[in-house]
């Protein structure tokens, strides 16, 4: 939690593109690698079955390509992160080194999980993502500079505007993306709300003995 309370205004670094619509979280991290009590070791399993065949042989995949080593911005297409709510997926990507994801659209649970980790999910149009993907595929060394305030990404000579939900923008720019802290601020009101609820006040759970 050392990264909590930190303002995220700008993200810089090189990028890599993982193409395709509806990339689900089972593909981002296969379930068999979720048998871990902590998230610490997950980075290495990002897109594992897309990167290695069953004999462990390396496949053609951007995450295996040395030209993209150290990239911190991930470019994706539509509905990225659909399926399972596993936070293991954004945790794996973050631990791989990803600090921001730019795509056409994101599954909601995935985007929420990313926000909670301080990884912005930024949306651009189909034409823009294609332009950015082509750019990094041709010139992997291109530096990206993402400015959350102006909602623009500068990549080489390209400048693209992205959208970011008002709530995401607010939490990153104010450094309050760690939701637990702001939720804890409202504890008194939480208890007041609970006390008003009929299923707590008027007909609570029946709790049989044993």
């Amino acid at each position: 939690m050392s990264r909590s309370k930190s303002v995220i205004r700008e993200i810089t670094g090189r990028a890599l593109a993982v193409r395709g619509n509806d990339v689900d979280t089972d593909r981002i991290i296969p379930a068999r690698y979720m048998k871990e009590l902590t998230f610490d070791q997950l980075g290495q399993y990002s897109f594992y079955d897309q990167r290695f065949d069953s004999s462990g042989k390396s496949l053609d995949h951007p995450l295996n390509d040395p030209r993209f080593e150290g990239a911190s911005v991930l470019l994706v297409n539509k509905n990225f992160g659909c399926g399972s709510s596993r936070e293991h997926a954004p945790q794996a990507l973050m631990r791989w080194g990803i600090r921001a994801i730019i795509g056409e659209s994101f599954a909601e649970i995935f985007a929420g999980n990313c926000t909670a980790l301080g990884v912005p999910t930024l949306t651009v149009g189909n034409g823009e993502i294609e332009e950015l993907m082509k750019l990094v595929e041709a010139e992997p060394q291109t530096e990206f500079r993402i400015d959350l305030e102006s909602r623009q990404v500068q990549a080489g000579s390209s400048k693209v505007s992205f959208s970011l939900s008002a709530s995401q923008a607010q939490v990153f720019l104010s450094g309050t993306w760690d939701t637990a802290t702001s939720l804890l601020d409202g504890l008194e009101e939480v208890q007041a709300t609970a006390a008003r609820l009929p299923y707590i006040k008027d007909f609570p759970y029946d709790r049989p003995r044993g």
Binding site: D24, P30, C82, S85, G186, A194
Partner: protein, 471 residues
């Protein structure tokens, strides 16, 4: 204009507006399991936080439990570590844990409704996307990530963006051999796997109202596969009758008070919706999801799509699907050979699912080359099935009868596909690698269709096997 259920529940549970503009929403029931909670408890410990409402938090173990040999310690050391962590965390924080020796253990989305923990007008959260299941009781239920599990443990609230509501009206009557699974697979095929982004789905209309609770749970379960954040059905007489006398449901006068609230919380007859969609149950046929997402589904008598006839976007995903499945374009899915048949999961592992499958396989034999598995969704479902003699029917038909767990729905326990096996599955996802083998292939269908496929050794039309039943 009146209000819909989501709006009413949201207003009652809203604590305040957060500085981010999101709403802080009180969560009435928090369900936890072994996979997405240990890291959340570690986050609490790091900040010296306590569980705010342990009495509104309930735990069970489902994803990693073996369904054959459940003796402890588990053979899989990692699985053993995960169940021990949950045992330790629940004991430390005073959380009720339905463990393997409780008689109440099961898949989290099976036991919530079964125990009467999930009730109408409640907000429910769980670190699992299929939490949408509980919406069938008229609850608003969210699947969340682990940081949010931490948030609920520490504050009993979530930071959420308000949702739009799409009313999905299902008219007509389901024919025999056609089930609620077929309704939801058709809805997702029509609206797409991202069609529900930003929305909750409210299912209603004559075909939905005619469904018993267990069939409704199947529909809401797969809301997330259509991209919807939640799915629900307004509480009605079916709901109240289902809940009456369940373990955690108030009895006597308490029940009467509960029913009063449950009635009020339903959408008003003139409720407003952000969007509407209509489906006709009369013309629905048994569905099979053939591709790599649950939206790639066709009627059992339809042909698989021809790439050149698809829109660009659908074509790209279909190309990946064909390269993974190696199925042929333009051919019917009926007749596709299968290797494995799986009946179970939070989608279709309830007693009514098992009864219907048993009715169909009774006196028949699974094809010799098919490995067929029946996995009850909970210990209570298993007990009920045993009291009705269902395991004997399955065993005589060449099916294996297992213990409760998530089993072959996802590759986190010993039940996995081998190589490129084709599995007829009553589960919810046909994603690449979902059933534990990176090259495995999953065909999603109703449990009755799985039973039919197991007997035929290939995808079959359950309506030809025998006079199909009705839900």
């Amino acid at each position: 204009m009146g209000k819909n259920l989501l709006k009413k529940v949201w207003e009652m549970h809203k604590v305040r507006t957060l500085p981010s503009g999101q709403d802080q929403l009180f969560i009435g029931l928090h369900l936890i399991h072994e996979v997405t909670s240990p890291q959340a408890f570690a986050m609490l410990a790091e900040r010296s936080l306590k569980v705010l409402h342990p009495e509104r938090t309930f735990a069970t173990v489902d994803h990693i439990v073996p369904t054959d040999d459940q003796n402890r310690p588990f053979k899989d050391e990692l699985a053993e570590q995960m169940i021990q962590a949950l045992e330790g965390n629940t004991a430390e924080h005073g959380i009720t844990f339905f463990g393997l020796d409780s008689g109440l253990q099961g898949i989290v989305h099976i036991i919530g409704p079964e125990l009467g923990l999930s009730q109408p007008g409640m907000t429910i959260a769980c670190g699992d996307s299929h939490t949408s299941t509980h919406g069938a009781l008229g609850a608003i239920a969210f699947g969340v990530g682990t940081s949010q599990v931490r948030d609920v443990l520490a504050t009993q609230t979530l930071a959420l963006n308000p949702l739009k509501v799409r009313r999905i009206e299902v008219k007509g009557t389901l024919g025999s051999g056609v089930y609620s699974k077929d309704i939801i697979l058709r809805v997702i095929a029509e609206l797409g796997v991202k069609g529900g982004l930003g929305h909750a789905y409210e299912y209603g209309g004559p075909a939905i109202e005619a469904l018993p609770m267990e069939a409704r749970l199947t529909i809401c379960n797969m809301s997330i596969e259509g991209g919807a954040r939640a799915g629900y059905i307004n509480p009605d007489r079916v709901t109240f009758e289902y809940l009456k006398d369940r373990r955690f449901v108030p009895k006597g006068e308490g029940f009467e008070r509960a029913v009063q609230y449950w009635k009020q919380i339903a959408s008003d007859p003139d409720a407003e919706y952000d969007d509407r969609f209509e489906l006709d149950a009369d013309t629905l046929e048994p569905m099979v999801a053939w591709g790599i997402n649950p939206g790639q589904a066709v009627g059992v008598l339809e042909k698989l799509p021809v790439l050149s006839e698809l829109k660009t976007e659908d074509r790209e995903v279909a190309e990946i699907a064909y390269s993974h499945t190696r199925f042929r374009q333009g051919r019917p899915i009926k007749g596709q050979k299968i290797d494995v048949a799986f009946i179970g999961s939070c989608t279709n592992g309830r007693i009514s699912d098992l009864r219907e499958a048993a009715r169909l396989v009774q006196g028949h034999k699974a094809a010799a080359h098919v490995k067929a598995l029946v996995v009850p969704g909970s210990q209570a479902v298993a007990g009920q099935a045993e009291s009705e003699g269902l395991p004997e029917i399955f065993l005589q038909a060449g099916f294996q009868w297992r213990r409760a767990g998530c089993s072959m729905c996802l590759g986190m326990n010993p039940d996995v596909l081998q190589g490129d096996q084709v599995c007829a599955s009553s589960s919810n996802r046909n994603f690449i690698g979902r059933q534990g083998s990176p090259t495995g292939r999953t065909l999603l269908m109703s449990p009755a269709m799985v039973a039919a496929a197991a007997l035929a050794g290939e995808v079959a039309d359950v309506r030809e096997l025998a006079q199909g039943g009705r839900e």
